[in-house]
Symmetry: C2
Subunit: 388 residues, 2 copies
Amino acid sequence: MTDTLKDRVAIIGAGCTKFGDNFDASYEDMVVEAAFAAFADAGIGPERVEAAWLGTYSPYGGNGKASVSLADALRLYDRPITRVENYCATGTDAFRNAAMAVASGLYEVALVVGAEKLKDRPMRGLGREGNHPYKGDGLTAPGMMAMFANRYMHRFGIGRDVLAKVAVKNHHNGSMNPRAHFQMEVTEDQVLKAPIIAWPYGLFDCCPTTDGAAAVVICRAELARQFRDDYVLVKGIGMAVRSGRPWYDPCDEHIGYPATVEAARSAYQMAGISDPVKELDLAEVHDCFTWPEISHYEDLGFCRKGEGAHFIAEGRSALGGDLPVNPSGGLKSFGHPIGASGVRMIFEVVTQLRGQAERRQVPNADLGLVHNLGGPGAVACVVVLGNP
Amino acid sequence: MTDTLKDRVAIIGAGCTKFGDNFDASYEDMVVEAAFAAFADAGIGPERVEAAWLGTYSPYGGNGKASVSLADALRLYDRPITRVENYCATGTDAFRNAAMAVASGLYEVALVVGAEKLKDRPMRGLGREGNHPYKGDGLTAPGMMAMFANRYMHRFGIGRDVLAKVAVKNHHNGSMNPRAHFQMEVTEDQVLKAPIIAWPYGLFDCCPTTDGAAAVVICRAELARQFRDDYVLVKGIGMAVRSGRPWYDPCDEHIGYPATVEAARSAYQMAGISDPVKELDLAEVHDCFTWPEISHYEDLGFCRKGEGAHFIAEGRSALGGDLPVNPSGGLKSFGHPIGASGVRMIFEVVTQLRGQAERRQVPNADLGLVHNLGGPGAVACVVVLGNP
């Protein structure tokens, strides 16, 4: 019998840069902006931080940024700083490790930063084959994620128009978010007529290459009220890793992500959730491409396998629907600076739970979900956050 | 007031490959060998592992190995696996995160693996300038570590002969270790006459480029006796990060590593150690080059700053001395597969505390220290382990 993390860790501050082509900001500039926004939000100075976690994916191929870069950017010296990397689930896993450390009692207050600078030099893997873990299979990220989408579309008889509805919804949400990379609406027709990247994905089925950073300050739950009344509690965390080469697994039907199913099962158990659509008020899920969001509806238990097309088509995941998904605009429209995304999703859910999401606010949001997916769908991390 | 980790986490199994030019073993082969040795040592199967941490430094430039590689190598699916990277302190920081997670109560049994494959393709940074965080300063690892050594030697008026004594001691110890990369003695004369790599370091002042993996199984301390009687307890952990560019700090005298001083202070406080030479029975310290070991004697409080030359010259750190340092042979002779080293040091201390170190056994070893240093001396992690 193991303990849970439920109600033992609180988020007392959150910050996030504008996501986009941040050519005028260095990696350190973005880290400083996000972290000091989180400090200001928590009403603390950096000296109150006892330990920090940095989620960043591509430091040596890209920018050479790891624990010492966070120390230097924030002048946060003589304290422990851990770099966590877990493919595109880097941000939530950094948060998870920080939350467990606080729950262990070793630290009262900790900082989690997710950051990535993808625009300064070409990113490997996304759009072309590079020095990448999957290169043995000759796969790019869009190509890899497209194989699953094609299989699913064949199996359930859906077309590209269903995928396009995800892009339309998330661009609509992102158009109301001042921090989103793309703050523009797109029509289903525009999505369908865009140049193909990897069939069935056209340009608007893919998330962009983005710079950005996000940060949260967490503390032991029993201390949270010292910092603010409207803190947010960790209700559940679940994580699961599967094979890095799922296409070799004859038992996998390739119509979804079993890692997400397992991560959600474990997070729901911890949070005491039995009916996610009824109990959750919003969800930020990993829409690196349009089809995965449809699969996530199913893998996260919002509907049954094969019913995701109805979930989007009936507007159930739209703002105002049964369970708004990606009110922030999602990776699709907010952008996806890899290590930053999970922490940015947490930032959005905190903003929604506090009722500060302005035009994209989900009314009376009280319980929200964050879902990060990494590798070829092999790594999933689910975090459930709620008001006290 | 924060809690401590003291006596809350136990090591119940440890495994380690032969370190060296492991051209006949893949990264996965080494991970499997180390992890299954640790499972066998703990008397468990992999299914008992609830969560895992992988410490590996150079996956994308080198081998593309992160969390999913551990899942695939061990068929350890549907569980959380985190990759931690913290320069050369990667192994101990992976252990630290796993220990905090177990102390949080979330897992009963967890696995920590450190692994690196450095020989299959040229390593960047070590010996030549590469795509490396320090490249802006034009520094290689030997060159960077040599600057500090030159400053220290100038300040305290010592010669290369003092550094050579560290190489002689650690090669002697390694000659008695069947897992060490170099199992050969060297003489002071051989060390002094070897080709210069970066003054004052000759070839035998530098640790080798090595392949290897090590693993430990940890559990909640109160469950340890279910697995074995001679388990080992975590007594203290301390970690500190400083600036990645210490040479720009006018307040730093560059005669030691302040991160180590802070990490040791914090670990000693947790473990209740006031006189490390009297209380510790052995120490595995980060001798990536010979001079750093001399600095570590001082920074870890074994003697005062400037007295390290006497500590080595008088044999106080030799097997049979006041406080044997690197009985395993150290990085110098055992080798330094970056992410593996910290976990390998923990393996050595566990072996010594159980009295299983054969010809290099420290008699009645009851309390041992592990010290990992990363970056340009900017990251230090200290772990104190003891018998129940």
